[in-house]
Symmetry: C2
Subunit: 189 residues, 2 copies
């Protein structure tokens, strides 16, 4: 969506940043849009990876995909830059009340996050427990501390409560996770 | 494609890195795979952005996209991390012999690159002149120096020859653009 500058944009800011968010993905989209509009950070959700098998060209200017399938992603969904640092994270919702099942994240995505951290990037998870409408940021360090020392196939809700950082839902930005990144990581400009 | 570890993987490295590359995109894919396999950098091409209109579910486990359209990308195609630095670039081929038409890059992608550089990332272009089979890296600085001072709708081939950095085609890695990044940017580990 593109809007003209000025009042129209301001209007959009006031109404939409506050009201549009519903799912975690939507909340993150409006938050990242907020960050970009204010030049705080440049972070995007990556497009869903697909394999295209068939494309029709109904006219010279038009291409319509007629057969495609979803691919298992090799990377996390979100990445970008914040204060010169490479940012990379995966965001997931769960309806479970006692734990976050690790089956929600593909093995490749976990290994991707591990590598990002090895290379000096800031990698983390954002997990929403939809039953409680609570959203937590789990730093890469806390995430790997858990999965490297446990054989459990899920991370208990209590671990998020104790070790995770709860992200408050705000008006604008909707889900200010970068504030928690600033507090929990050493970020020098 | 997934391969078992060990000999099989080594075999793949020897054969495919050298022979698979043909288009610039393929050359970059095998190069980035090489960088990832050797833990030099974690850089991926983003999936092509599409809007999905219709999905069929022929079985419980299967989803087939039956109608989708290509979207204009808001960002560049490639990003990732190298020695702790955020890397972001666009790669294009042109069959033109005297210049690289700027119409090959969307305005949003150019503004995206500009912002990445403002935020402390390493942003650049890789352009291949297919008629000469020559591939150039144009640093963000050199790219914006040109487009901010010119009203031309293309960048002359001579500018790439004089100011761009030619990327040699190698056996493995196929297109070692990160070597040029190391030389042309101050990268401290």
């Amino acid at each position: 969506m593109r809007y003209p500058n000025g009042i129209q944009k301001e209007y959009r800011s006031i109404t939409n940043y506050a009201n549009r968010g519903m799912t975690l993905e939507e909340d993150l989209n409006v938050t990242n849009e907020y960050y970009r509009d204010r030049n705080i950070a440049i972070i995007y959700k990556k497009p869903t990876p697909i394999t295209i098998y068939k494309v029709d060209y109904p006219s010279r200017k038009e291409a319509v995909i007629r057969e495609a399938r979803f691919k298992i992603p090799s990377t996390t969904d979100y990445n970008g830059i914040f204060k010169g640092k490479y940012i990379d994270f995966e965001a997931k919702e769960t309806a479970h009340k006692t734990s976050f099942p690790l089956s929600n994240i593909h093995a490749h995505q976990i290994e991707h996050l591990r590598k990002i951290i090895q290379h000096g990037g800031i990698g983390f998870l954002i997990v929403r427990f939809t039953s409680f409408q609570e959203t937590y940021l789990l730093t890469g360090k806390d995430f790997f501390n858990f999965i490297d020392q446990q054989t459990r196939k899920s991370i208990p809700y209590s671990y998020f409560k104790e070790v995770g950082k709860k992200i408050p839902i705000g008006l604008s930005p909707r889900l200010d996770y970068l504030k928690l990144i600033e507090v929990n990581y050493e970020i020098k400009e």
